[in-house]
């Protein structure tokens, strides 16, 4: 199924209209009114001023469930809950097995995905293979246009950037990005951020992996490049390490009722960050994560306190 998109303005009205559509979808849970009452905080994409919710969703591992109908139905509930909660960006990649197909399948089955900010990647060698791969992603997602196409881990970035600049002019992609993960090729990425006309970078940043604060985040701010944060939970490692520890007393002051929200609020409160994309296979976790996009965010002083606290654990 092909899908067209209007420009995203994720105001409260648009979100509630989406929820009304969701009610019509058969066999779908009704949307959470509590979530609808308080829209997610948004951040502007520097290149355009367009606002997107600060919490999105990743798909590595969690959405790679193959063709199994039961597992797909299970993940459909997660995607449904994501939109019920006012979510926007979904990030995937051809590297993630069946994740793109599972997302495309879910999008074709739910009615309230109007807030979708579609983000995928090109991850292959050579321009020709890149074009093939990106065309395949259009089919898998059921889209005619991607909001964001990213060059995954800088693989053959010169070749793909050439294609993407052309595609942006033609309206096939709205924004261009480039991704990396923890500690990988940061020098090259910084160089690209300085010299190339990209709209987004995606990098790893979380309460234990703070390296991006030194150079990449300030550079993104300076150059007007939107920042997507991957691995905000360090692939779940933050829970393994801190989940059994007590939540600090002051967590309530920034509207956090669990560790997931504390981890996410730390990340998205950095002034250079546009959005974080935690991945989950569970609806309850998804709802916890989305709630981090509401309420008060920590200021610089509180952020420092958060780091000091986890250092004591």
């Amino acid at each position: 199924m092909m899908r067209t998109f209007e420009p995203k303005v994720l105001g409260r009205r648009g979100f509630l209209a989406g929820l009304a559509g969701a009610g019509a979808a058969a066999n779908m849970p009704t949307a959470s009114l509590a979530a609808a009452a308080i829209p997610l905080i948004t951040r502007a994409i520097p290149a355009s001023g367009e606002a997107i919710p600060i919490i999105g969703m990743g798909t590595w591992i969690t959405m790679n469930v193959g063709n199994d109908p039961a597992l797909r139905a299970d993940r459909l509930k997660v995607v449904q809950a994501f939109f019920d909660e006012g979510g926007g960006m979904i990030d995937s990649s051809p590297m993630y097995g069946s994740s793109e197909a599972v997302i495309g399948d879910s999008l074709s089955k739910i009615a309230n995905s109007r807030g979708l900010f579609s983000a995928t990647k090109v991850w292959t060698l050579s321009q020709w293979m890149g074009v093939r791969q990106m065309n395949n992603s259009f089919d898998l997602w059921g889209l005619k246009r991607f909001d964001l196409m990213q060059i995954h881990n800088l693989v053959d970035w010169e070749a793909h950037l050439e294609t993407l600049l052309e595609w942006k002019k033609e309206g096939l992609v709205r924004y261009i990005g480039i991704t990396t993960s923890h500690g990988r090729r940061h020098d090259d990425l910084a160089d690209i951020m300085r010299k190339q006309p990209i709209d987004f970078v995606q990098l790893t940043y979380n309460m234990l992996d703070l390296e991006a604060e030194d150079r990449l985040l300030p550079l993104a701010k300076e150059r007007g490049i939107a920042v997507i944060v991957n691995r905000p939970f360090q692939r779940g490692g933050l829970f393994d390490r801190f989940d059994s520890a007590p939540l600090p007393d002051w967590a309530g002051a920034i509207d956090c009722s669990n560790w997931a929200q504390l981890f996410l609020k730390f990340v998205v409160s950095h002034p250079a960050v546009t959005c974080a994309i935690p991945a989950t296979s569970r609806v309850d976790h998804l709802r916890q994560n989305m709630a981090a996009g509401r309420g008060r965010l920590p200021d610089a002083e509180m952020r420092a306190q958060m780091i000091r606290y986890i250092e004591t654990l």
Partner: protein, 216 residues
């Protein structure tokens, strides 16, 4: 990094097992045929058991990796290519050129060889069961890669003339990759593969040295 979770992987294996049922019974019987030919003391040619092992590699390469597992992991195509290559190598060496004969010699290599064969057929699924794979996702020789690789190591050790080294390369790689994946997604049964591969390779090399020494 593995792009899928343990649960999803086991679900995929369970689906595959269900799709092929009752081929598992035939696969286990063929495994026993290989075991029978391996321990029977005879000097006739071993084309039939070699063919069975080759078909197992082909079935796992095409059925398991290319047609089924590749939905979860693009790297399954590489495994498919390796498994098909091993099948072709087995056919070339053991069927077309009749490059080796199976024979139980009552030496350490033969003893370990038979133990590995028996473990591939019965021990692997039982270990899987004991470590939580569940009955639906039991790893079966000739159907799933782990026990097929193990069976091959046992089988190579039972060759009277030392097995051609070229036949040990892909099983060695497959043992390492399989165990690494098993480690990452918590499937302890697969951890038997590297010790078997190391012991197997060492014994094959020792046999080759002895054989060369005797030929001088």
């Amino acid at each position: 990094m593995i792009p899928f979770s343990r649960d999803v992987f086991l679900d995929l294996v369970a689906q595959y097992n269900a799709l092929l049922w009752p081929a598992q019974i035939a696969a286990l019987l063929l495994g026993l045929v290989v075991l029978y030919f391996s321990i029977r003391t005879h000097d006739g040619n071993s084309r039939f058991p070699v063919l069975i092992v080759a078909v197992s590699w082909l079935a796992v390469g095409i059925g398991y990796f290319a047609l089924h597992f590749s939905t979860l992991n693009w790297a399954a195509w590489l495994s498919a290519a390796l498994f098909v290559t091993q099948a072709l190598l087995l056919v070339w060496t053991g069927v077309i050129r009749s490059g080796f004969r199976l024979h139980y010699d009552n030496d350490i290599a033969s003893q370990i060889g038979v133990a590995l064969l028996a473990f591939a057929i019965a021990g692997y699924p039982l270990l899987g069961l004991a470590t939580g794979t569940g009955t639906a996702a039991l790893p079966i020789v000739g159907i799933d890669p782990g026990p097929t690789v193990l069976l091959t190591w046992g089988f190579l050790l039972l060759s009277t003339t030392p097995a051609p080294l070229v036949l040990a390369v892909i099983p060695f790689i497959a043992a390492c990759v399989g165990a690494a994946a098993g480690w990452l997604i918590d499937l302890p049964a697969d951890l038997v593969l590297p010790p078997a591969a190391v012991a197997g390779l060492w014994l094959i090399l020792a046999k080759r040295r002895r054989y060369r020494g005797a030929a001088k």
